[in-house]
Symmetry: C2
Subunit: 201 residues, 2 copies
């Protein structure tokens, strides 16, 4: 008994706060996914996490900052893109980027939070700003940086535009025949375009 | 006095109902633009138009059907795309389509309803279905039809994806440098891609 109590008392506060932080973050992701940015409230997140609103503010600050933290977690796999894409020969960077983006969308685990982020960013200027800051600057800028070409940022964005448009029409709006088309066929069509934007003349 | 009364009485019912119809449609466009599909109600549209909800149902049917009618009006310029794009030499069809799409987005009058439609379609499956039916089948299918090529529909959709992605990043998410880039520069980069999807090998 003494041992247990001692362990309980001796539990470092940092671990406990990390648990609470994680619980809030999980609740935030769920709330943002379910309701979108506009309809999600700090109070709702606190309630779902079983904590007081003040604690949510304490750990994360404003709703915008919670959203950013939630995106950062949801996007953890996507934030690996620059490394995954930049490694390997430059003349296949288009195909690697295409495979990476479609891979994230084809995976049911990552598709749902991604869809929630896209919906929030399309609907709300604050969410769009977070999306820009995080996804664009962390993913696109880094890819552009490794290209080491003039107008590399615009190139990376035009390449991303082809992939963003494909994702919108295939996974969000679900336009046929694109929505049901074989993924390898799409990649075969799209990869050269992405490559052309990134490294073409 | 008698003349006025007679003119009033003699006013053909079709004109009056056309006025009411237009007023409802204008109110519907405003409501969908301001609130998005989910938050717009038939009652709200009726109130904004100064008529009874029953009259809105009488003229247009369900909320989905009102949305479709509102999109059809907002999209009237865009629905001219197939003709505008298909006229002229086939080896410049990519540039014509790119200029058409960016033209609609650059125009402040058409950008707002377009943004509302995109937001609704991204957020709501019913709105997405209307978007698919109207925009995709009326615009993309017709362009594909005039191409007279195998897999013309998929080609048209991949071409559209490049333009949709550019519109998303430039006008909705507002990613820099793309958002502020010179339009002619973007068209110079994007038109060959669109052309390639449509008529390339």
């Amino acid at each position: 008994m003494t041992g247990v109590t001692a362990r309980k008392r001796g539990r470092p506060p940092r671990t406990e706060s990390a648990d609470t932080r994680d619980r809030i973050l999980t609740a935030a992701r769920e709330e943002f996914s379910e309701r979108g940015y506009d309809k999600t409230s700090v109070r709702g997140i606190a309630k779902a996490a079983g904590v007081d609103s003040a604690l949510v503010h304490h750990y994360f600050g404003t709703k915008e900052q919670i959203f950013e933290a939630a995106i950062e977690v949801a996007f953890a796999p996507a934030l690996g893109a620059p490394e995954a894409v930049a490694d390997g020969p430059l003349d296949q960077v288009g195909e690697r980027l295409a495979r990476f983006v479609f891979g994230v969308w084809e995976n049911p685990t990552t598709r749902k939070p991604l869809l929630a982020i896209v919906r929030s960013a399309v609907n709300n200027d604050t969410a769009a700003a977070v999306f820009r800051r995080l996804v664009v600057s962390q993913v696109l800028r880094r890819i552009a940086g490794r290209l080491d070409l003039p107008d590399a940022e615009l190139r990376a964005e035009l390449a991303a535009a082809q992939l963003v448009g494909c994702a919108m029409l295939r996974y969000v709006i679900k336009v046929e025949p694109l929505a049901s088309a074989d993924l390898e066929l799409i990649i075969a069509r799209v990869a050269p375009v992405v490559q052309g934007h990134l490294t073409g003349p």
